[in-house]
Symmetry: C2
Subunit: 210 residues, 2 copies
């Protein structure tokens, strides 16, 4: 929704093309009739996109990536916002599962075709904040082993009003970003809020997207 | 230093009483001649204190706790700010070691006498920020299995100008606080800053210390 409002071309993917279209229609109501947003079944969405954003429950993560793999086009950037919450196996959303590769995003890096860049970002930007009006009070930390992908995703993050985007280094740091989500969910439950994080104390250049 | 400036009685502990005294003297220069700050060997400091703050490298963590154990008085609150950085075993300060108990603070809970409350806090408040002048732009997340200890430590945190203190729930969440430190150290190296975190989106009550 935020990207459609910013003029980006967005395709909502779903297992069910009808549900994807319904979601896209809902966003259009808010983003305006000129918004370039549509819905498609996952494989079709993947075929048409040069940038994928995975925002899925962890229990469907590996299976979806195996299904999508043949449809991911060379040069695609895969942004993974998935968090391996223990809720995926009936546990708490304020705890994470251990993922053998270190994080959900690193699991993604193992499951995409060779040469596809994986970027971890957006885990800590809750749906409630994105669905609300006005700017968010959150930073997006962007991690990837492909230094060329980081500025592209940082630029995309800053299209969300209020969000600042910070280069967080290698993809291995995704494990920390994913754990922060569990902490924020715990704080939301405890304090009845919609929490986010800001990183303080960095020079302005750390937040500038060239 | 910040607590001495706020009028708290502080004892700096060290393996070497002379080094402890030197550190206390340095703080006195800044906090003023009336500051209630002194130095002592660790066991003596522990004997005299009703609240201990562990700010030690992880490689000395378990050994120090075993040494201190007989000297910890009943009713003491042990605040653990230790982070199991991989630097402890010659690795990077931007990575953590896995601790069997889940976190350094949970290891502490295993090593202190029965009935002693352990609180995880202050990991993400860097020495450079505390040594600088003026308020810090940081939140302190406070985790403990003793709900009575949390407000005491939150009140202590807010004696550091600028710091807000948030109840972060059970001690098990210390693992996330400790990992955040590694992330912040990585950001400091990458962006040449002294980073901290702020939690956004919580109601004001989450930050009020009664």
């Amino acid at each position: 929704m935020r990207w459609a409002e910013a003029g980006e071309t967005v395709i909502v993917g779903s297992r069910d093309a009808k549900r994807a279209q319904d979601a896209a229609d809902k966003i259009k109501v808010r983003a305006g009739a000129n918004a370039k947003i549509s819905g498609a079944e996952n494989i079709a969405a993947c075929n048409a996109a040069d940038l994928l954003v995975l925002t899925i429950p962890f229990e469907g993560h590996a299976a979806l990536l195996k299904q999508l793999k043949p449809a991911i086009r060379p040069g695609t950037i895969v942004i993974d916002a998935t968090v391996p919450l223990a809720a995926s196996v009936g546990g708490r959303a304020s705890r994470t599962l251990g993922v053998w590769q270190g994080s959900a995003a690193q699991q993604t890096a193992e499951l995409v075709p060779k040469g596809i860049s994986v970027v971890a970002a957006f885990q800590n930007l809750g749906a409630e904040l994105l669905n609300a009006d006005g700017p968010v009070d959150c930073d997006v930390i962007v991690c990837s082993d492909d230094p060329a992908a980081i500025p592209i995703v940082r630029a995309l993050a800053t299209k969300i009003p209020g969000a600042r985007a910070i280069d967080g280094g290698k993809l291995e740091n995704a494990r920390i970003l994913e754990q922060i989500t569990a902490l924020l969910i715990g704080l939301n439950i405890r304090h009845k809020g919609h929490s986010g994080i800001r990183i303080t104390g960095l020079p302005p250049a750390a937040h500038e997207v060239v």
